[in-house]
């Protein structure tokens, strides 16, 4: 289980290959990439800056992965999240989960993303033609995380 917070971009193909290398019990690898869009809430986004809480961020994501591991059968999981200045089309986050079967891999991957969105201390500031603004948390993200309380 690996968590990395970094300024640099990541190589999705290489990260997935490394995660599943040498373990022939892995039958399913689910992954998710979050990308900077050039439009948010109707406004053009020229760039964004990602701030985090060093120490707590890593701890929070590790706790999320541990929770997922307790709930589904996972062989390995990886979360990479970028910080600093990013432009549209840039990769923000990568979550990769390896399991024997696809049901576990899909569920754990989505669970990790939903919890990361509501529990990992990152904040986005968008640069728009009207100036910079902090992105507001969405109720839909709270709902997405809420779902996992009752769902199997």
């Amino acid at each position: 289980m690996t968590v990395r917070i970094q300024h640099e971009d990541f190589d999705v193909g290489r990260e997935i290959a490394a995660l599943r290398a040498c373990n022939a019990q892995i039958g399913a690898v689910a992954s998710f990439i979050g990308v900077v869009r050039d439009l948010n809430d109707g406004d053009r986004v020229e760039a964004m800056t990602l701030e985090h809480y060093p120490g707590m961020t890593e701890k929070a994501i590790e706790a999320i992965i541990a929770q997922a591991s307790g709930r589904w059968q996972l062989y390995d999981a990886l979360v990479i999240h970028r910080i600093g200045r990013l432009a549209p089309l840039d990769q923000i986050v990568l979550v990769v989960v390896a399991s024997a079967h696809r049901g576990d891999a899909f569920a754990a991957c989505e669970f990790i993303m939903d919890y990361l969105k509501t529990r990992a201390p990152f904040w986005k500031k968008e640069q728009t033609p009207d100036g910079a603004r902090w992105v507001e948390a969405r109720a839909s993200d709270d709902h997405a995380a809420e779902r996992w309380r009752t769902k199997g």
């Binding site: 929070a60 923000i92 990361l116 969105k117 990992a120 201390p121 990152f122 904040w123 902090w134 948390a137």
Partner: protein, 86 residues
Amino acid sequence: MATIKILYFAGLREATGTASELLALPASVKDIAGLRTLLRNRGGAWLEALAENRRVRAAVNQDMAGDAQPLQDGDEVAFFPPVTGG
């Protein structure tokens, strides 16, 4: 006397003009709720940024913390808006 470190992130850091501070806790301040009140009483930007109707999250020693969380000497407290990563 208990001394704590307080960190402010994102919009809260900008509004208060403060990234971090060391604070000697008055004996009357026992928990996060008390600390919020103490900081609000600074007035101005502090009063506004930590207003009761603002959704400001707190963490103590890098774990999310509710208003009732007690404070101890040496604690690392953080205040920040709801998170928006991913």
